[in-house]
């Protein structure tokens, strides 16, 4: 695959910036650790080995993450199998809606379920199983989206060849699922790590998990090195999981070659599977409806929502500017990294680092950044550090959909390197860049784990304000703020999907 890169020096500089931003916080933490060890402070190392209470916490976190990943994947694959057969009509809109819901941060789901359980009073709104259920609801859209992505990547002709020989259920078992396995296993690994690293939902439902310990340790001691050592078991687990799923993620990201305009075959499954799919679909419908209805019901009138938004005007404005800046600044380094990932040589090393960077705990990013003198824009660096890898993968997806011949034609006919890059290659990547920018904007707006540690005194982001309020329960005020946030997420997400799926036609129309 030809590289869409600008001149080499710029490309290398951008790669360097990418690495510095993404791994800078960890590098700062490790430098601090080595300094402490050089000063003879070896007793610190005992923090890296979980014992006693911390071992129990780690076991709690592992079992919760495992249960969340397995259950989300089971339901996600069933829902994806159902929606995969409908690329038009209601199924198409449902597919879009589910993908949009990926952007809703976990604590908004937490608020919705808190409110529902509080009203129903059928069970206490706390504990392991409630935490599991809410995490399942929060990660289900991602499980469905990535499973759909895996199923979509299976060439229809391979399915048809199977259908000619065997019943559809066997074609599913022996051809479709094995071919979609890279995406499905990558998603399972990713969900496991996301759940393992998240402390927002368990903490809101009174469950102590290991990720919260890192944040708590930092809050108690103000020592980032102690936070790093406490986070070491999570980092080690992330490296192990990534070593297993990295190949799958790479394979899934590089095999997006669905021929345009071909619907997948309408497979006929046995009744028991249809029943399971419909049950899973019911769960996803609950997943969609509960946050929407619960937030609207809790927020009260439109006037009270507006009042909540007005009260949080400073936080909204501050979050908005930080997130937009992150969304814009991510583009160039992410673009360079996406191009690098297609390289058969150096790409191998970058793949491991990019995937690892996706799951570095937010609290460790925050702890590392505190060691760097950046000031009021520190949250922007935190957002970039956390979401640049995601932006690179989105741009890579677009890069894989671009016909290499178009790039080769521009290389032959371009008057100079710059005009070829500016007039042909950049517009071809346009929708991918747009989607990456929007995604970083959305995720930055909802980011909590690092933001809560790096926000400078006198400032606050919307996410932190909501999280702080949530500890006092699901009030109308916090519901109003969540509703505002959800509206921004869903609106931006819809715009992003519209432009990405239009293949950039909307951007071109706008330019005319």
């Amino acid at each position: 695959m030809p590289r869409l890169s600008p001149p080499s020096l710029i490309h290398k500089t951008l790669l360097l910036i990418f690495a510095a931003i993404v791994f800078g916080p960890l590098a700062a933490l490790f430098t601090g650790l080595f300094k402490a060890l050089a000063a003879g402070n070896f007793s610190l190392l005992s923090l890296a080995l979980p014992t006693g209470r911390r071992l129990v916490l780690l076991a709690n976190s592992l079992s919760l993450a495992f249960l969340v990943a397995v259950s989300a994947m089971l339901i996600g694959v069933l829902v994806a199998l159902y929606l995969w057969r409908f690329k038009s009509g209601v199924g198409r809109y449902l597919r879009w809606l589910i993908i949009l819901l990926v952007s809703l941060p976990p604590y908004i789901h937490a608020l919705s379920w808190m409110s529902v359980l509080g009203r129903l009073k059928i069970m206490p709104a706390e504990g392991f199983w409630v935490s599991w259920w809410v995490e399942l609801m929060a990660y289900l859209p991602l499980a469905v989206g990535l499973s759909l992505f895996g199923l979509d990547a299976v060439e229809p002709v391979l399915i048809e060849a199977g259908r000619l020989a065997r019943p559809d259920i066997e074609t599913l078992k022996k051809i479709i699922l094995p071919l979609a396995f890279p995406a499905i296993s990558a998603c399972a690994g990713l969900l496991f790590l996301l759940s393992l690293m998240d402390f927002s939902i368990p903490s809101l439902f009174s469950i102590n998990v290991y990720a919260l310990e890192i944040f708590a340790e930092y809050s108690a001691t103000n020592d980032p090195i102690r936070a790093l050592l406490l986070g070491a078991p999570l980092l080690a687990l992330a490296v192990i999981v990534i070593m297993f799923v990295q190949r799958s993620i790479r394979s899934a990201a590089l095999t997006i070659s669905r021929p345009a305009g071909r619907e997948p075959a309408f497979l006929i499954f046995p009744e028991w599977l249809n029943w399971l799919q419909k049950s899973a679909l019911m769960i996803i419908i609950i997943q969609i409806l509960v946050p929407l209805i619960s937030l609207i019901a809790s927020a009260g009138s439109l006037k009270s929502v507006a009042q909540s938004a007005l009260q949080a005007k400073n936080e909204i404005t501050f979050s908005f500017w930080l997130s937009i800046t992150a969304g814009l600044l991510c583009l160039a380094p992410a673009c360079a990294m996406a191009e690098e990932l297609t390289d058969r040589g150096t790409g191998n090393y970058w793949w491991f680092l990019v995937v690892l960077a996706l799951v570095i705990p937010g609290s460790l990013v925050g702890a590392g950044l505190i060691l760097l003198p950046v000031g009021v824009w520190l949250p922007v660096i935190a957002y970039l550090s956390r979401f640049l890898p995601l932006a690179a993968l989105v741009i890579l997806a677009k890069l894989r959909r671009t016909d290499p011949l178009l790039v080769e034609a521009s290389r032959v006919h371009q008057p100079d390197n710059f005009s070829g890059w500016w007039r042909v290659r950049l517009p071809l990547l346009g929708p991918g860049l747009w989607a990456a920018g929007c995604l970083v904007f959305i995720f930055s707006l909802g980011e909590l784990a690092a933001t809560i540690m790096v926000t400078p005194p006198g400032y606050n982001t919307l996410a932190v304000r909501i999280y702080n309020y949530l500890h006092y329960g699901a009030s109308a005020q916090v519901a109003g703020l969540c509703l505002v946030m959800a509206a921004i997420f869903l609106g931006t997400g819809a715009l992003m999907l519209l432009i990405f799926s239009s293949g950039g036609r909307l951007i071109k129309l706008g330019a005319r």
């Binding site: 391979l158 048809e160 060849a161 094995p178």
Partner: protein, 213 residues
């Protein structure tokens, strides 16, 4: 006998097959010829049950197998299909790809049929390789072997020799004429090459703009 009665199929606003009616009464090889985009592939896909007709009916013998009300599942039609591309499953070896369509047969019989086909198609020794470990020409031959191993009643071939070099094309054409045609009651061969069509069959149907002329 294969009977197609007033069958139509469109994709959005494009009418790919337009009220086609014809019969293949006697077993043997039939060729369908026509320019690119005339609906040949769609017609084959309708035969195979991979598409549901918007109108009309398709019969194999006296059995109605396709109509807009419903279709017999593809695997129940006892058909083989050679696609324009090899379409080999990348996670299965050459042997697994070929044997996939064979069921209800003893292991001995499976081995025997596999060896015979591998030898006839110069694929011996490749059975444990994966599709990405064989050449494009070998992949074509594996696809051909996969489509005939179950001895289908009807074999559909959709431009199977497109983008194949002259030498391999000649060898495969000979194999299809001498071996496949002799053992398959109905063989429907789609091509846009008149010489290829003439060399494989005397019964040539011409298709243009979705209609059989």
């Amino acid at each position: 006998m294969i009977r197609v009665k007033n069958t139509s199929k469109s994709f959005g606003k494009v009418l790919a097959v337009d009220a086609v009616t014809f019969e293949i009464k006697e077993p043997g090889v039939s060729a369908i010829m026509g320019p690119s985009g005339c609906g040949k592939t769609t017609l084959l896909r309708l035969f195979a049950g991979l598409e549901v007709p918007d109108e009309g009916e398709i019969y194999f013998g006296e059995d109605l197998v396709s109509s807009k009300k419903g279709c017999l599942a593809p695997h129940l039609r006892n058909m083989g299909f050679v696609f324009q591309v090899p379409a080999l499953w990348p996670h299965m070896t050459v042997a697994e790809n070929i044997l996939f369509s064979l069921s209800g047969v003893s292991t001995e019989e499976k081995k025997e049929r596999l060896q015979l086909l591998l030898e006839k198609l110069d694929l011996a020794g490749l059975e444990r390789r994966f599709p990405d470990e064989i050449s494009g020409g070998q992949a074509r031959r594996v696809a051909l072997a996969r489509s005939v191993i179950a001895k289908p009643k009807c074999l559909l071939m959709d431009e199977p020799l497109t983008n194949v070099d002259m030498d391999l094309k000649k060898r495969l054409l000979d194999f299809i004429k001498n071996e496949v045609a002799a053992s398959t009651p109905y063989l429907i061969y789609v091509t846009h090459d008149i010489e290829e069509a003439k060399s494989i069959s005397q019964n040539i149907l011409f298709m243009d703009s979705g209609k059989i002329r």
